[in-house]
């Protein structure tokens, strides 16, 4: 196949989801939309009746909504961070993966950032977090980790959206040139006048490089600040210096798992078997294994120091997770995050697409449990035994969580429908480089230079 024909096939394959719509798409959007609506209505119900409708209580003031917040912000570390690192080290296999990953980041962040609003007693006053010029001179309290959260998440969201949008410009231009009428006009606007001149390419690549470098410290700071929500408070097993790196590692861990699952679904539904290859799942599987080991190392460190320190304030919270009320959840978490993924990721023969997806499903469940187990057992066991308590979720928080999962899938479905989920131009650059290499090798062989 010659070069132009290959390039054309890439364009056609990757634009197919945009240009052809099946009934399955409408069915998926309807069902997911209904679930999202259900979640939103439940939030409205919670606002009208107060947080009494949830299972939160004295002393477990934070539980499900806050777990979901940390969980979704964690998932958001899939994308930007992974894709930025892979870009920085010029990993060529990254090309079909980056956009899937960056889109996860954008959507998971939007959903994650909703949960601090959902959990508020009076969410209609959330704008008090903005340092607006007030006639009474009142600003938000910059000593509060929740204020840090507000700025960190907004910075990360802005950065991630830019990072996602920049490499889409040339692809918008491809869609603009391939379509007619209104669609061509809309994509033309989005393409921002892209003509593909050398000057434009140079600027785009410079901008992408700057963003890739800038987004890494931002991503790390975001989850560190999320961990500060807990570690700044003098609560048993929260007040720990390990939380920053522990949370960042956990976030990347769950992010890679979410990315593997999303890629497997895209591969099947959009018929991208030619582009998302077993190699990609293998490489991401290796990354997932690394993070699983790192996560295990952090959990071991955290638990060992608390157990060895043996302070009266911390031990009740510690034992409630090891052998008490929350032990079944704790050991399920260890199984899902460490024991189950290990054979699937460590043994080369099992590191297939199915194998990595099974491991990833375990990790996503396990990482949700991890956040729950950080929040609830500690609040249940604060220093005065008289004030110990327990927590059981009730239907509103479960419904809102289900709605948030549906929202994630819905946003992703719509994104894959309107934007090429694999970066067309980056793939072509890769093909071009490989063909060129093959040609050079062939020429060298012909000249007898290589044995």
């Amino acid at each position: 196949m010659n070069r132009t024909a290959r390039a054309n096939r890439i364009t056609e394959d990757l634009l197919r989801p945009l240009l052809h719509t099946t009934w399955k798409f409408y069915a998926a959007v309807t069902i997911l939309g209904a679930l999202v609506l259900m979640g939103l209505l439940t939030w409205l119900y919670q606002m009208m009746n107060g947080l009494a409708v949830t299972g939160d209580n004295w002393p477990v003031f934070w539980s499900f909504h806050e777990t979901n917040f940390v969980f979704w912000i964690g998932i958001s570390h899939a994308g930007t961070l992974i894709s930025a690192i892979l870009r920085m080290v010029y990993a060529t296999w990254r090309r079909p993966v980056t956009r899937c990953a960056e889109a996860i980041t954008a959507f998971a962040l939007m959903i994650g950032a909703l949960f601090p609003l959902i959990h508020l007693g009076r969410p209609w006053y959330a704008w008090w977090l903005i340092p607006y010029p007030s006639e009474r001179g009142i600003w938000p309290n910059f000593r509060s980790p929740l204020t840090w959260d507000f700025f960190a998440i907004n910075t990360y969201l802005t950065g991630s959206l830019l990072f996602l949008a920049l490499p889409m410009i040339p692809d918008f231009a491809v869609v603009r040139d391939r379509t007619k009428g209104l669609r061509s006009k809309i994509y033309g606007l989005l393409a921002l006048g892209w003509q593909g001149t050398p000057k434009q390419w140079h600027r785009l690549e410079t901008a992408m490089h700057i963003m890739a470098i800038a987004i890494i410290p931002v991503a790390i700071s975001v989850h560190t600040i999320v961990s500060f929500d807990f570690s700044m408070a003098v609560v048993p097993m929260w007040h720990s210096t390990i939380f920053g790196p522990y949370f960042v590692a956990g976030a990347i861990f769950s992010g890679i798992a979410a990315l593997i699952i999303a890629m497997a679904i895209l591969r099947k539904t959009l018929h991208l078997e030619q582009y998302l290859l077993p190699l990609h799942f293998q490489n991401l599987g290796k990354l997932l294994l690394t993070m699983s080991l790192l996560w295990g190392y952090f959990v071991f460190n955290e638990r060992l120091t608390v157990w060895y320190g043996n302070t009266t304030h911390e031990m009740p919270a510690f034992w409630s997770t090891q052998s008490g009320t929350y032990a079944p959840l704790f050991w399920t978490m260890v199984f899902c995050n460490f024991i189950l993924p290990f054979p699937f990721l460590a043994i080369r023969k099992m590191r297939t697409i199915t194998g990595t997806v099974i491991a990833s499903c375990g990790v996503v469940v396990g990482m949700w449990l991890e956040r729950f187990l950080i929040i609830v057992p500690s609040l249940s066991h604060k220093p005065l035994p008289y004030s110990w308590g327990e927590y059981m979720p009730r239907w509103p928080e479960l419904t809102i969580f289900a709605g948030s999962i549906a929202a994630m899938i819905l946003l992703y479905t719509l994104f894959a429908k309107f934007i090429p989920i694999i970066s067309i131009w980056e793939l072509k650059v890769g093909e071009h480089a490989e063909l060129k290499k093959a040609e050079t090798v062939a020429a060298a062989e012909a000249a007898g230079e290589l044995v």
Binding site: N49, G50, L51, A52, G55, D56, N57, W58, P59, V60, F61, W62, P116, H119, L120, G121, R122, P123, Y125, A126, W128, L129, I138, P140, N141, R143, S144, P145, L146, T147, F150, D229, M232, A233, V234, V235, L379, K382, P383, L384, P385, Y386, S387, G389
Partner: protein, 236 residues
């Protein structure tokens, strides 16, 4: 001289009768949430009597410990509030501005004593109880944190009255509802900046200790007891 409010709680005197809890509810318009919500751990008692049992039946000793906001001088609840709803006053109180609270509940998590309470739903008073609300204390809506104020409305009223009469506040003149209702005189309230006040003298007592002193919260409440809790705990 500026005031610095404090309290002494004499555990050797406390009978655990619960009058302080009732008086506090009445004075501060604290809603009662009913049996179902109470079973869900939503009861709001700005002051509570903690009961601890020591020993095995029949050789059992019951200990009572009234726990209210310790009005910490180094309060964990204050810096974590993103809106300054929870803040420190010049007279050493941990104040809660209900109107400025949007209910993150972070202060309640940070508080080591669990003496902050959240309005899970809007308060309801069955008729005719709605007529007995204290006009000096605002009623809180759903989504807002609330806590013991050392009956700040009484403190302010007392200061105004003393100023109108052109005199200094007398020691023992100001009594929060819990102190006023305590039949055993186990609770003593006053100005810690006055070294001769009853509360100052009791706070310096050899029987005195602070609750969870090692947390470094520097409470303005002192607990008095012949034998410290720590010693009796390590014996049992």
């Amino acid at each position: 001289m500026a005031h610095h409010w404090g309290m002494a709680v004499d555990l050797d005197r406390c009978t655990g009768c619960g009058a302080c809890v009732t008086a506090c509810h009445a004075e501060n318009n604290i809603p009662t949430v009913g049996p179902d919500e109470a079973a869900r751990h939503r009861a709001m008692h700005w002051i509570r009597i903690e009961r601890y049992w020591e020993g095995e039946f029949p050789d059992v000793q019951v200990k009572f410990r009234p726990v209210l906001c310790q009005q910490c001088n180094n309060a964990p609840c204050e810096p974590v509030c993103p809106t300054y709803a929870s803040h420190h006053t010049e007279e050493g109180l941990n104040a809660q501005v209900y109107n400025r609270c949007f209910g993150t509940r972070y202060c309640a998590n940070a508080c080591s004593y669990n003496v902050r309470f959240f309005n899970w739903s809007n308060p309801v008073w069955d008729k005719p109880l709605h007529l007995q609300l204290n006009p000096d204390v605002s009623v809180r809506e759903a989504g807002v944190m609330e806590k013991c104020t050392f009956c700040v409305q009484r403190i302010n009223a007392g200061k105004i009255e003393a100023e109108a009469e052109g005199r200094e506040l007398r020691d023992g003149e100001l009594k929060p509802a819990c102190v006023q209702s305590c039949t055993a005189n186990a609770l003593v309230f006053g100005d810690l900046n006055d070294p001769e006040s009853a509360v100052s003298r009791l706070s310096r007592s050899a029987r005195g200790s602070k609750l969870l002193e090692d947390m470094g919260t520097k409470p303005n409440v002192t607990y008095l007891q012949r034998e410290s809790w720590h010693e009796s705990n390590s014996k049992s």
